[in-house]
Amino acid sequence: MIDFGYGITRSNRLNLDEADLSLARKMARREKSFATCIGCGTCTAGCTAGHFTAYNPRKIQLMILNGQTENLKEDLKKCMLCGRCQMLCPRGISLRSLWSKLYRALDDGRKTPAVTRDIF
């Protein structure tokens, strides 16, 4: 193909109509308290992993809802499951349960190292 010297820049907008929201639906079923997030950010402010990395539990929730799942699994590995987010959440969301169920959901149909399976 001839290189005309220009390309097409992809839109920065997320098209929610075309987004794959299967994970959001799955998580809504598996951890019902997940739906009640009010985006206050207490979890993120108190997150042990977030203290040293860019880990942001509040945004993980939004990435699930908006179907942005590509990097979720890598991100989630930063979580040490200390449960501080759950202790702090004013809405009473079972966050530790959410993270472990999320990890499993992301792993559906894939081979997982036994050691990871034990942790989550």
Binding site: R13, L14, L16, D17, T36, I38, L62, N66
Partner: protein, 341 residues
């Protein structure tokens, strides 16, 4: 027997009328529309307990009985403070009624959603206001313009509220709760529908409201996206495509909905300015009537014998309106007893 004239047969006017009648005054209500109940008359169900609006109006109307006259379809032509301290209330068909005390309970009008042209109300087929949706709930048919069951519904909070561009900087107070109520009702009707609420912040200020919000999330799966709708456009299939930022994610979104519901805010009723001018009452910059003191004299005006109740002084919920109207009735009684001596 002393005469009290009330302007407006809405929830505030009817409530105050019943109290004043019980105390022993001769009460006359002047109403511009052909029915009572005001804005509530066009509603289906009310938050927080989903009671029927018609039932509430019945409850407010029932104690009136004899001794309260309601004149419908009236236009007030003159309001004059007379030498003897009474107020002359003039209308086209009734002539002049002499009132020992006048209660202004002229209420509110919904913000005209046409003014937010970028949302397409009156332009696109499937853009509605919360009042339109209430009518649909009343009729039992919540369908798109072409008669289909909507699969995706979006609610836009703060339409004509908190918006300098339309001259309304204030919060209309009841729309957030109404959106949560209607979003939940839509999900009760169509459990498989995807419902979005676009909000700037959610003002769930009374005890039961936070539970309504919690249930909307947990029981009904309503998705709350923090962000103000930027613009809407109609697609070929008559669905409405929305441009909004999910400000919590820092992500701009495009999505389409089959129905877009605009939560229009509260404006002072159309005649408020005219009434204020005729009597020399004060209006604030928003156009609502202002009482002498919002803490201690919330129903009084600078004009002797003229009192205020309900949403003519600013957005209120129905329980607040009822409490305000009862308080106004007590103040009027105190005033009239003092005058007798």
């Amino acid at each position: 027997m002393k005469n009290v004239v009330i302007i407006g047969a809405g929830v505030a006017g009817l409530t105050a009328a019943a109290r004043l009648k019980d105390i022993g005054y001769n009460v006359t209500i002047i109403e511009k529309k052909t029915y009572d109940g005001g804005n509530v008359a066009s509603w289906d169900r009310l938050f927080p307990d989903s009671r029927r609006a018609s039932r509430l109006i019945d409850d407010v109307r029932r104690p009136l009985g004899e001794g309260v006259t309601i004149h419908y379809d009236q236009r007030i032509t003159s309001l004059v403070k007379m030498k003897d301290g009474r107020i002359g209330v003039g209308t086209e068909s009734l002539g002049i009624i002499h009132a020992d005390a006048l209660l202004v309970a002229s209420g509110f009008s919904l913000f005209d959603a046409h003014l937010k042209e970028e949302y397409g109300y009156g332009i696109y087929d499937n853009v509605y206001t919360q009042a339109d949706l209430e009518s649909m709930f009343s009729s039992g048919k919540v369908l798109t313009r072409s008669g289909d069951i909507p699969r995706r519904i979006g609610f836009v909070h703060c339409v004509g509220s908190r918006d300098e561009k339309v001259g309304n900087r204030y919060c209309s107070k009841v729309c957030c709760v109404t959106a949560v109520k209607q979003a939940s009702e839509i999900k009760q009707l169509y459990p498989d529908a995807q419902v979005y609420c676009f909000y700037m912040d959610l003002r769930m200020f009374e005890l039961p409201y936070e539970d309504m919000y919690f249930n909307a999330q947990k029981l009904y799966g309503v998705r709350f996206i923090r962000g103000r709708l930027c613009e809407a456009a109609e697609k070929m299939d008559k669905s409405v495509i929305l441009k909004v930022e999910d400000t919590l994610a820092g992500q701009t979104l495009n999505l389409s909905v089959d129905m877009l519901v605009l939560m229009a805010g509260m404006r002072p009723a159309s005649d408020t300015a005219r009434i204020a001018t005729m009597l020399g009452l004060h209006c604030n910059k928003e156009g609502f009537l202002t009482p002498v003191d919002i803490f201690s004299r919330g129903n009084e005006t600078e004009v002797d014998g003229v009192f205020l109740a309900g949403t003519c002084t600013g957005p209120k919920t129905i329980p607040q309106t009822i409490a305000d109207a009862r308080s106004a009735a007590i103040r009027i009684d105190e005033y009239l007893k003092k005058r007798k001596k």
